[in-house]
Symmetry: C2
Subunit: 237 residues, 2 copies
């Protein structure tokens, strides 16, 4: 068995100087299963790169295939253009965060949020192999709605020519998770302030069909579950 | 009237090379009211900075006071330490994104999401003035739950000493918004694939009181609305 294969099959990423936090190290994890779960639940990542010496952070869709993340965009967009020009690749930092709850402590100082985040450091490379590009584009569509790539018209030649795909390997990766309640100091516990957690999660309204949808096309099964998430109007926050 | 006052009162930020997108320029906006609304609705921003020549993107809480954003953290955390050391400040890019819907087109190529994002470029400075620090810390707590700063124990001397506050002025700022349905090409409209939008939004469960909460402390009014967001269990996505 080769070293690379072993690394792929390991259950955890190897911590590095960049992935060991200076604070709250107990919240850090390198568990691949946890990292994958956090990544797969997100819709948008925040992609950081350096342009003219300054940081740029842009939200963008992504897809995962095993230990590879894929991002796509117009061949004219800045990060994708920079990746194509860059050899040997563009240093990036890709972050995905879920906010799970608002943590209200008795003291202002201990207010916090419950969250799960993944930070990936690495070098992004443009994907030029046609087959890997197809796989990546399918993964990007299936990341938004699993099963959707097979139920849509695949990209044609012109669309493929206009689309750049970049890859970022999951190698230098960490997750960070905060759960639980308020961590007030013992001497604050009797203060007359409410303390606790307000849980937060994603909600889905019923899918809205396109006005020009051909009559007779039913809502696909892979979308049906998304319409039942919210039975009541949301509060205004 | 001074120039700075005029700039503060203008209804829009002045576009710069960095805030004019290379793609989908029609989605960009510099309207201050829109930018403020997007910022105020978020819980977590993604803060990008450059360390050892490479980009770093970390999720963090933030607060807004007029045209200033504040971030806080332990004096030992990396970006805050770097800001304190850096003179004249640390170049950062701060991004806030809301995902509002999944856009399913008949073609894989036109799949998209509806979103609202704000990208702020600038130089972060450490805040040392005690009064501005207090204002910033209140804003950070009130950003999570409006009205909460007044209903919690303010930071004491020791906590203040352990907390670094940095400021980023809203100056070089843009918003980007996508709304609406699928933008399929005319020749794809008759394809046998469902097309439309799955709306997405934040949901709140009922607040969970701390196990050690002093009996008799009721749920504050400013939290009551947050418990009514979800009347039914969410679907598993």
């Amino acid at each position: 068995m080769q070293a690379t294969t072993e690394a792929t099959q390991a259950a955890a990423y190897t911590p590095t100087d960049r992935t060991v936090p200076t604070r709250s190290a107990d919240r850090a994890s390198y568990d691949k299963e946890l990292v994958h779960a956090i990544l797969d639940e997100g819709y948008v990542c925040h992609l950081g790169f350096v342009r003219d010496g300054a940081p740029v952070v842009l939200p963008t869709l992504y897809g995962r295939v095993g230990e590879r993340l894929y991002i796509h965009g117009s061949t004219g967009s800045r990060p994708l253009r920079m990746t194509g020009q860059a050899d040997p690749g563009l240093p990036v930092c890709l972050t995905v965060t879920h906010v799970d709850g608002l943590v209200l402590a008795r003291s202002a100082f201990h207010h916090s949020i419950n969250y799960r985040s993944v930070v990936v450091h690495g070098v992004a490379h443009e994907v030029t192999d046609p087959e890997e590009r197809r796989t990546a584009l399918d993964a990007l569509v299936d990341h938004v709605v699993p099963g959707r790539a097979a139920d849509s018209r695949p990209a044609n030649k012109k669309e493929l020519a206009a689309t750049a795909v970049i890859r970022l390997d999951l190698d230098e990766v960490s997750a960070k998770v905060r759960t639980g309640g308020a961590n007030d100091d013992p001497e604050d516990l009797s203060l007359p302030h409410w303390a606790g957690v307000v849980p937060l999660r994603k909600g889905y309204d019923a899918p809205v069909p396109d006005a020009g949808l051909t009559p007779g096309i039913e809502l696909p099964d892979y979308l049906a579950a998304r319409g039942t998430g919210l039975a009541a109007p949301m509060s205004g926050i």
